[in-house]
Symmetry: C2
Subunit: 140 residues, 2 copies
Amino acid sequence: MEAETANEQLLPEFIEHCRSRKLRVTKERRLVFLALSEVGGPATRPVLLQRLVSKGIHAPTLYRTIDAFVSNQIVQPVLRNGESAYELLPPFAHHHHHFHCLSCGAVAALDATDEHLDLKVPGTVLYHQIDAYGICDACL
Amino acid sequence: MEAETANEQLLPEFIEHCRSRKLRVTKERRLVFLALSEVGGPATRPVLLQRLVSKGIHAPTLYRTIDAFVSNQIVQPVLRNGESAYELLPPFAHHHHHFHCLSCGAVAALDATDEHLDLKVPGTVLYHQIDAYGICDACL
DNA sequence: CTTTTTGCAAAGTTTTTGCACGCAG
DNA sequence: CTGCGTGCAAAAACTTTGCAAAAAG
């Protein structure tokens, strides 16, 4: 059975967000959004495409959709093993930080429990991202 | 004039690093390394390629070289306007903190003056990177 | 009804591969 | 010497573009 990980509860919020930004809510965009929340983390475009072709999404549609999502702060590009990947932004997902293993390439989500940042920035920060690099326990 | 930004002083260190990792030091690798230090920040592969073709570097060589550099902790992939780019790692360069403008796409290096991170990580952290996203002063 | 978005086909890039040759160690 | 790296050419993979048709609001 098509186990939809119960993230559909975020759909109303997604739809609202689209409306407020005059992005039309189409079947394709819902599917891309759902795929992203099912993955639950960074997904590259080829990976998303492979997941979505079976549901009738064409490559140009996926690429244009991702661009629209990035421009409208629905997803954010992040690195996944050196490649650009896309991850939902809050409020659609908890914005977490990543730990990258330099040995095996695994990426783990981090909870930054105690984080104090005082950055001198030439602008206004909307959100931030922290990536730690090292060797994971499994590789030691 | 062929202004070589005097980063050639790092070449000996680069060569030493290669030797210790049994990477052969070739003309091509030196050129890629120099190009990266001249850029002084994240550079995408097409950008590096364009800079280097005139010096006789072929695309496959550049790609294989970057892979070798990543595997050997000479460069690190980072994001530059949503695209994968490559940046020298310490000890060859520092500033791994960036501010990305969501409006114009500019990327600025940050000085994190007061930074206290207490990350619970499933491994040993060698270094970290902070990316802040927002709107730059120029776009306001 | 108007405007945005998608489908499709095709072109344009970027990236990878395989193999022979050459250079670093 | 002895491989590791590179050059070259070709193939594969990925991404973008243009326009007509469809769908959303």
